[in-house]
Amino acid sequence: MAEKKAKKTTKKQEAPKMATEKKPAAKPRVGVFICHCGTNIAGSIDIEALQEYAKSLPDVAFADNYQYMCSTPGQNKVIDAIKEHDLNGVVVAACTPRLHEPTFRTASKEGGLNPFRFEMANIREQNSWVHMHDREGATDKAKDAVRIAVAKAALLEDLFPKSVPVEKAAMVVGAGIAGMQAALDLANAGIKTYLVEKEPTIGGRMSQLDKTFPTLDCSQCILTPKMVDVGRAENIELMTYSEVENVEGYIGNFDVTIRKKARGVLTPAEAEAKGIVGGGCNGCGDCDEVCPVIKPNTFEMGMKPRKAIYIQHPQVVPLIYTVDFDTCVKCGLCVEACGDKKAIDLEMQDEFVTVKVGTAILATGYDIFEIEKKDEWGYKKYENVITSLEFERLICASGPTGGHLVRPSDGETPKKIAFLLCAGSRDNTGVGKPYCSRFCCMYSLKHAHQIIEKIPGATPYLFYMDIRSFGKMYEEFYYRIQDEGARFIRGRVANVLEDPVTKNLKVMADDTLLDRPMNLEVDMVVLAAAVQPTRQADPVRKLFGVSCSQDGWLLEAHPKLNPCGTTTAGVYLAGVCQGPKDIPDTVASAEGAASAASIPIHKGEVELEPYFAQCREEICAGCGMCVNLCPYSALALVEKEGRKVMEVTEAKCKGCGTCGGFCPGGAIYMQHFTTPQIVAQIDAFLLGGEE
């Protein structure tokens, strides 16, 4: 292969970088270590045979096996063998490198080897676990996997991670309870934090709730002080009515561009900057009174009107009005009413600001599933069928009815109310969501309690599949609601029909405990609708390079070992954007994410995996094809010795290798995934086996 001739004339700083500068390649001496993983691997693969086979491979100097390679004695085997057998390559055949590559790299390093001379053969996730009943097939596959790994290990080179400084600032996207908690924690840890929220106010879903289970704390009472803290925190720069527009860079150095949507209103600070003394919005609401445009308030689930210039509710943070330019008719009455404060600017345009942050937390939250898709329950067809979030607003003292629960059809107080749990959750029909939404059982119990408490003689009927009251003091709360007189019917509701005259609802279900059909007439139906990721989560996650599960929930790096991290270094998850969580779990996850996001910042520098592209200038023809292929603008053509060659900015290169896959002359050298290494793996598989 031409790459072997690679020679580079340019001087390199501290560490030798690539093939060019390595000493004449020593003869490969690879050690192979095979893990039993208890019976996880040994149960399906013949370890003895695999070890014998490994010993027979030309570049293998030593082979061993152990019950649990990741344990201290297992790792010591690697450390000792490197020294004893003068190994220059290590292969561990065990689980996936996505789990233990870092473990064994550290062990190799401790043995005195460059950690990048380690290669893993995955014989568990991609072998013993998927061929559990084919010992012969699994053992053959393991032999091939070891042979392929040894072929790569024999060609591995010393590589040196690049240290880059970390910007001492963080970003949190989404200012619900998760984002607020994460931002407060970061700010309290002394980190400048940009908190970006698409709505005009922070607070998120929690601010729409009336009470919280199982303590029955008033949601606003515990949330509002936190909102105020966020608004006042010195280290938090609040960016409400703003969205992430673009993300560039990498851990330690993200450049995030934020679109600050035109809100048509100046804050006092903005007014002062414009030379309007004592001006800017003080939240007086004079504009609101004169505005002639009326729209439904989404915060109140559309059950209360707002104007074209509005605040969503009295506790908003920041207390600044917002002009909804989609509906504003620009009559100018508000400008007049505002007077000398000169806070309103109806010609305001969106602004873009770019900030540099070291790490970022996504906390984009959830939406309610479009429950009208389950048309058997009649949402949006029958007036007295509402969702639980609408129920929250109706029962809330600050809501559209001042906390009096009324039927939307006639304003009467309902006496018999049916709650349909798992409305769209745990649904395998393809219409709803297959997962459990996790907090609907508990808030429905809370709703039952609120009805009994507020409406004398009222009876809640809860139609459930299973009551999942798994948290601290949750089961006790369930007993309490049972004792208070709520009725529980174990059965999924098949159909809801409306009496066209009374607007009462007939709920039809099977009572599976009594094994008999039920037909219950109620005044109101409340659907405990499934939750789903917000619409905005998808574009945001794509900008930050975060994957999602099939349901759209953002994907953590590892569900157990790295639940707050993502596969993009420096980007973390908090709250329900990752999957349904109740408030305590959300806050815990937010604190976890904040802690994780603060680590690189406090450390001050991070190491980037040295999978950088390198240009072999003597071969490079300077065509520049690679320059346009690079999604990170890491490559450029530069003039050297009278001709054009490609140059890599290592800090920008993320090591995807897209340039290397395309270079027509083979001039790009992808460290750790070089052409000779990959070809050696292919050859080892197809040509290296016993004939």
Partner: protein, 140 residues
């Protein structure tokens, strides 16, 4: 029959989506036949079409290239670029008289363990229908 022909299939998969998806199939103990060997790259964008040609001249009966879904690439667009190259490679294979179905590009995300198992099973079935790589006969 005891010595039924088992095809040799090379899987070239990206680290972030398909390799993780294959791991997930393992964690979920989803069973599929052991006829595939995996070589991991960081991104399918790394794949030089020559690697696949090399595999075929080495005697691979099938090659599966698997990356992230479009729009989901860890490196933004490496999978688009790979897909383009694989599309051209397929037409080349057809033109030189090698069944282009021996080569397949799929998109399996980190959360699609079951899909990975189905894809592998599918590729094995297809390759088994096609029979051994004809290049092997030429070489012997």
């Amino acid at each position: 029959m005891a010595d039924e022909w088992e095809p040799k299939i090379l899987g070239l998969v990206c680290n972030w989506c398909s390799y993780a998806g294959a791991d997930l199939a393992g964690s979920a103990r989803t069973q599929y036949p052991p006829d595939i060997r995996i070589v991991r790259v960081m991104c399918t964008g790394r794949l030089d079409p020559l690697f696949i040609l090399k595999a075929f001249t080495d005697g691979a009966d099938g090659v599966l290239v698997s990356g992230c879904h479009f729009g989901d690439c860890h490196y933004l667009e490496g999978n688009y670029k790979a897909a383009k190259r694989m599309f051209m490679l397929k037409s080349l294979l057809k033109n030189i008289g090698l069944e282009d179905k021996r080569m397949r590009m799929t998109f399996v995300s980190a959360s699609e363990g079951a899909k990975w198992a189905t894809v592998v099973q599918d590729v094995i079935n297809t390759v088994k229908t096609l029979g051994p790589n004809p290049l092997k006969e030429l070489q012997s």
